[in-house]
């Protein structure tokens, strides 16, 4: 059997150059091997969205951009709000502006030329843009669980058939290439079964310490090795302790917080930072966000000294 999209294989090895970090909001992304395989499965199966779950700060949202960057594909991010409707992602028809314009024409303040075209009042949504894209596109639907419960179901037909009709004009928009769809969920609400059935599901586990070291090294290119190791160690101590206390339930320190924390530590000279790591948890405000956590973990620190 021929593979329908030759050459599109995500390796997770291509990272943006360091000068792009700040400028274009591009950051290195080091997926686990399992995650990489699952992304490739989604690329291969074409019509099946990849549903990513995981703790906050585990890199759910960043994945889509990393995939788009490595494969050199256009990237469309659709961030869901509680008021988002499924159709907003396909297209928006600005009826009010059209009515307004029509009024002005009737009142004689504007000439009818050009303004009567209904198509000029239709604006494509993110998914609509991806359907029209001349290359396969990567679409991120971020935090789909924030939307109404019917939201995912309203997208089923469009995703299955890779087309939709603009009701106002009767135009049919057909996807030139099936977009690579990456959906993230924070698991605040369950998604409907009919939608889940079609998804490829992956849960991002917390990285191993070795992976964390790699992640830090990718973000901070010339960070001293000793400091990286020491801070990952310290961080894992805290995380393990939170793991024991909270199990799967509570908010635990995440990869993204580790990166922020390391950024602060890295400001100091190596020996100074190492000395700080040996005392009570330095810059705890970056890692501990709740008063209880502050109290509990810093208190323990003092007691063990």
């Amino acid at each position: 059997m021929k593979r329908s999209t030759p050459g599109l294989t995500y390796t997770g090895k291509v990272q943006p150059p360091i000068e792009d970090f700040e400028k274009h909001g591009l950051y290195p992304y080091l997926p686990s091997d399992e995650l990489r395989d699952v992304v490739n499965l989604a690329i291969f199966l074409e019509k099946r969205p990849l549903l990513i779950k995981g703790d906050p700060g585990s890199g759910k949202t960043r994945l889509a951009k990393a995939v788009a960057y490595e494969l050199g594909l256009p990237y469309f991010a659709w961030h869901i709000k509680s008021t988002s409707r499924a159709r907003d992602g396909l297209y928006v028809y600005d009826a009010v502006r059209r009515l307004h314009d029509a009024q002005l024409i009737r009142a004689g303040t504007e000439t009818p030329a050009g303004n009567d075209d209904i198509r000029s009042y239709i604006k494509m949504g993110r998914l609509g843009m991806a359907f029209q894209s001349k290359k396969r596109a990567v679409v991120l639907i971020d935090e789909i669980d924030k939307a109404d419960i019917d939201f995912p179901n309203d997208l089923l037909l469009e995703l299955d058939e890779q087309r939709f009709v603009i009701e106002e004009t009767g135009d049919e928009i057909r996807a030139k290439y099936p977009p690579i769809l990456i959906i993230t969920s924070n698991d605040e609400k369950d998604l409907p079964d009919a939608f889940l059935r079609r998804c490829i599901f992956y849960y991002i586990e917390f990285p191993t310490p070795a992976e964390l070291v790699n992640i830090i090294n990718a973000h901070f290119v010339d960070a001293p090795k000793k400091l990286v190791d020491a801070s990952v160690n310290r961080f894992m101590q805290l995380r393990d302790r939170m793991d024991q206390d909270k199990g799967r339930a509570g908010k635990k320190v995440s990869t993204s917080e580790l990166l922020d924390w390391f950024a602060v530590l890295n400001q100091y000279k190596e020996d100074e930072a190492l000395a700080k790591l040996n005392g009570t948890l330095p810059f705890a405000e970056v890692l501990l966000k709740r008063w209880e956590d502050h109290f509990r973990y810093l208190q323990q620190d003092v007691e063990t000294k």
Binding site: F44, L99, Y203, T208
Partner: protein, 374 residues
């Protein structure tokens, strides 16, 4: 259909039996992936492939692992506890399966490796195409799921978790609230015709679901066998429902002065305090056996329950009672007396639907709701 081998069909079928929402297209997706060599490098990668295609939550993932292990029976991995859980019939089947690889009539039970071996098209491309799936560093087994070592199958319950969620979704009270962002076409047209010119549209707030649900759960004593069931229900309305807010309180036997916010009944809140937080959209659902589990008649319990209900009626417009025991067990117990006073329903799909309808004001509970009520 004799002689046709469907790889992993047995696993697929069992997952369906356990209520996972899977259809033919999900099976075909697996076949397509297998045909290009994805997931064929070893058992763990096959496991991961099936899991990512067929499983969509962490809970189901535990079930999946168990069924996968059953299909690929591996004596070194199966602990003795898991062995004893399996029914004798299943063990027989799997034992037979191990020997019967040559017989095609047992094909449905045959693991995929055998299927792949016999189906040449599946085998061709394992070598050249699988850089994608070759490397596996961490087996999925290392994941600590942090849950009990046994699995409670939802089928054990009179109503499944999915059904609970589906029922609870009907509890909706759409109310227009918040910023005015939705166009009211009728009002806009009316305004244009009145003013003779369109100036600006009439906007109204969006409809939001204002339904609030308060669950009162009987905990301890005769309810102990049903704790798992009430936990399922709480979870279903919490995460599956569309309610703006869900509060859970616990009590023992009957709610008296205080309700408790935790399962062990340590943190108390006065009943009146809870009642005062109700508004017109609040619906209240009581989960208790009402004395039907012990099967005796407890006058004090009936009396106190009625006192509570009287008080409740002044604050909550709609409430219902879910009884984990089937309704034929209620007569001649305290539950019967309570059921004559409060809309009480079984913990079944039908009963849950009726209870939710009661909370929506669409079900009239009366003398003839049950055959034994005369």
């Amino acid at each position: 259909m004799e002689g046709i081998t469907l790889p992993l069909y047995d696993l697929f079928d069992r997952l369906r039996e356990h209520g996972l929402p899977l259809g033919i297209s999900e099976y075909i997706a697996l076949l397509r992936s297998l045909q290009t060599g994805i997931g064929l490098s070893d058992q763990d990668s096959l496991r991961r492939l099936c899991k990512s295609l067929w499983v969509s939550s962490e809970e189901d993932s535990v079930l999946f692992d168990r069924l996968f292990d059953q299909v690929f029976i591996q004596s070194d991995r199966l602990g003795s506890s898991e062995e004893s859980v399996k029914s004798p019939k299943e063990s027989e089947e799997t034992a037979a399966e191990a020997q019967a690889t040559g017989q095609s009539d047992l094909s449905a039970q045959t693991p995929a490796q055998v299927g792949a071996a016999r189906n040449p098209s599946l085998q061709v491309k394992t070598g050249d195409l699988s850089p994608i799936v070759q490397s596996i560093r961490r087996g999925q087994r290392n994941i600590n799921w942090d849950r009990p070592k046994y699995n409670l199958l939802t089928e054990y319950f009179p109503v499944t978790h999915r059904q609970m969620k589906q029922s609870s979704r009907y509890l909706r009270r759409p109310v227009r609230e918040g910023p005015a962002i939705e166009l009211d076409i009728d009002a806009t047209v009316e305004k244009i015709s009145r003013e003779g010119l369109f100036r600006e549209p009439v906007l109204v707030p969006r409809r939001l679901n204002r339904a609030e649900l308060v669950l009162l759960v009987d905990q301890g004593g005769s309810m102990v066998p049903f704790h798992a069931l009430s936990r399922q229900l709480i979870d279903a309305v919490h995460r599956g429902g569309l309610m703006q807010q869900t509060n859970v309180y616990y009590f023992h036997d009957y709610p008296a002065e205080y309700l408790y916010t935790d399962r062990s009944r340590l943190t108390a809140r006065s009943v009146l305090d809870v009642f005062m937080s109700f508004d017109q959209y609040t619906a209240l659902l009581i989960v208790s056996d009402g004395g039907a589990a012990r099967g005796n008649f407890d006058e004090e319990r009936v009396k106190q329950t009625n006192v509570f209900i009287q008080k409740l009626k002044q604050y909550a417009r709609r409430f219902a009672w879910i009884n984990p025991l089937p309704n034929f067990r209620w007569p001649d117990t305290s539950a019967e007396q309570i059921a004559r006073n409060v809309p009480m329903f079984d913990m079944s799909r039908r009963g849950l639907d009726d209870a939710i309808n009661t909370l929506r004001g669409r079900y009239v509970y009366g003398e003839k709701s049950y055959a034994w009520m005369k």
